[in-house]
């Protein structure tokens, strides 16, 4: 072996070499402290252990999802929505998300014969946080917050209004009442890996209306993306089909890099003691 090759090998393993060097110094000191004159020295063995603490890269790709609960609701009721979401995966922990959807409602009350109709897009932005301890697994348990906004027009109409005292009747109907609504949502959800990049999951959402520009003639009965306005707050939910997109993501699911090398001193005797190289090094410096 050439000297240059030997140097390069030492340089590649410089951490281990450095550790062994420190260990030698520290070990000799320990021997000096523990050995009594006249007693045979106990055999000492030094073992270098390389501990890998895996580290996630910040960017873990994008996730595209579609909600199937909204269309299902529309199939069995007067309102519903279709929705897709794009979320950014940061360290498998933080998920900034944008949700875009289209809500629609066509309701006629069977008692009052009042008809409400609207259809409009909506936008929600926010962030989810994955609370699972193991960030390397493909399942996620998350809590998040959303801000939602929708600008929409609605039509409302009903039977003629009759004056009970003075008599007379007038048709009742308004088309294209324009308004804008804003709301916030607290999200709790899970998602699990089903097959390769395909996940499924659900979320439950507690929604609270922040502001709605109200018309003199009619309150909006349904706000796209928010739901019905029968109360000040609304519970909602999604059931998502989720696809992990690996745009711009480095190959491999997660990237683990060795960040620490720990060298342990193991004394093969009854009273085994362990000391790290760093501790010994500190001891040396204190002595100096």
């Amino acid at each position: 072996m050439r000297i240059s090759e030997y140097i390069s090998m030492v340089w590649r393993n410089r951490r281990i070499a450095l550790a062994v060097a420190f260990l030698c110094c520290g070990g000799m000191r320990v021997l000096a402290q523990t050995a009594n004159p006249g007693e045979p020295q106990k055999p000492t063995k030094y073992v270098a252990v390389e501990v890998e603490k895996p580290k996630l890269l910040l960017f873990q790709g994008f996730t595209l999802s579609a909600d199937v609960f909204g269309p299902l609701v529309y199939a069995f009721s007067d309102y519903g929505n279709i929705e897709a979401a794009l979320r950014l995966n940061l360290k498998n922990t933080y998920f900034p998300v944008a949700e875009v959807g289209y809500g629609l409602c066509d309701k006629t009350d069977l008692n009052t014969y009042i008809k409400y109709k609207t259809s409009a897009p909506y936008l929600r932005i926010g962030c989810d946080v994955n609370f699972l301890k193991d960030k390397f697994q493909d399942n996620r348990l998350f809590v998040g917050l959303r801000y939602g906004v929708s600008s929409f027009n609605y039509d409302i109409s009903g039977p003629d209004m009759k004056d009970p005292i003075y008599g007379g009747a007038e048709p009742f109907g308004f088309d294209g009442i324009s308004t804008t609504s804003q709301w916030i949502e607290i999200v709790l959800g899970v998602q699990v890996k089903v097959w390769r990049n395909f996940h499924m999951g659900w979320s439950v959402r507690f929604k609270s209306e922040m502001s709605t520009k109200e018309s003199l003639y009619a309150k909006p009965y349904y706000i796209p993306g928010y739901g019905t306005t029968t109360g000040g707050t609304v519970w909602g939910g999604t059931y998502n089909l989720i696809f992990d997109l690996n745009w711009g993501k480095k190959k491999g699911k997660v990237t683990a890099t060795p960040v620490n090398v720990e060298v342990r001193e193991a004394i093969s005797s009854e009273n085994t003691t362990e000391k790290t190289v760093e501790q010994d090094a500190e001891g040396e410096s204190e002595g100096l």
Partner: protein, 208 residues
Amino acid sequence: MVIRQKDIRRAVVYAALFIMSSSATGWLASCSSNNCPLENFVSCNFYFYDSEGTPISYMGEITVKTLLPGMKTVYTYRKLGEQTVVKEWRDESLVELGYTETVSETRRDTVLVNRASSRGNIEIGLGYFQKCDTLIFSYSEISSSDTIKIMHESYPHVDLPECGAYRFHTLTGVTSTEAGIDHVEIANPTVNYEGYENIRIYFNGVAE
């Protein structure tokens, strides 16, 4: 805490079932309940005060009529020594008894409040499609009556489709004659089903 993939998968399935069943329950429940206002009668609320502004209960009887649009035919029968009889239809039996019949056209009216007593306020509905309502206040203590004219704008309003349509009003002005009334004023121009105090009527005299 270790969460296994199998447990999470199970949670997803159970949650989906829960969401669907709770939604179905919600839809069923919505058939039997609503969020409509309990007080769903839209009225203009008149509150009574003495001339110095002290709230009072009017101890006498008050009758409130309003004039309706259009005219009606009135048949008046008079006979010397007998009380005058007014009817809205022709009564030939009175003519046979010697009454003199007079036919005239008068404004249509209807009673809105009939002999209300010991009341501190009254509630009266306003017209849907007219800009001025005329109310005639008659009192049991004094022979003359007062006429209150209320100017207002009206508009339809729907809170929720299940609650129906209402007619709200915005008061723009109020005037009165001064037989038993000192003066009137608007307290709150919004007339809806919230029950605001809309008009204050200050009667002549001071409460003891």
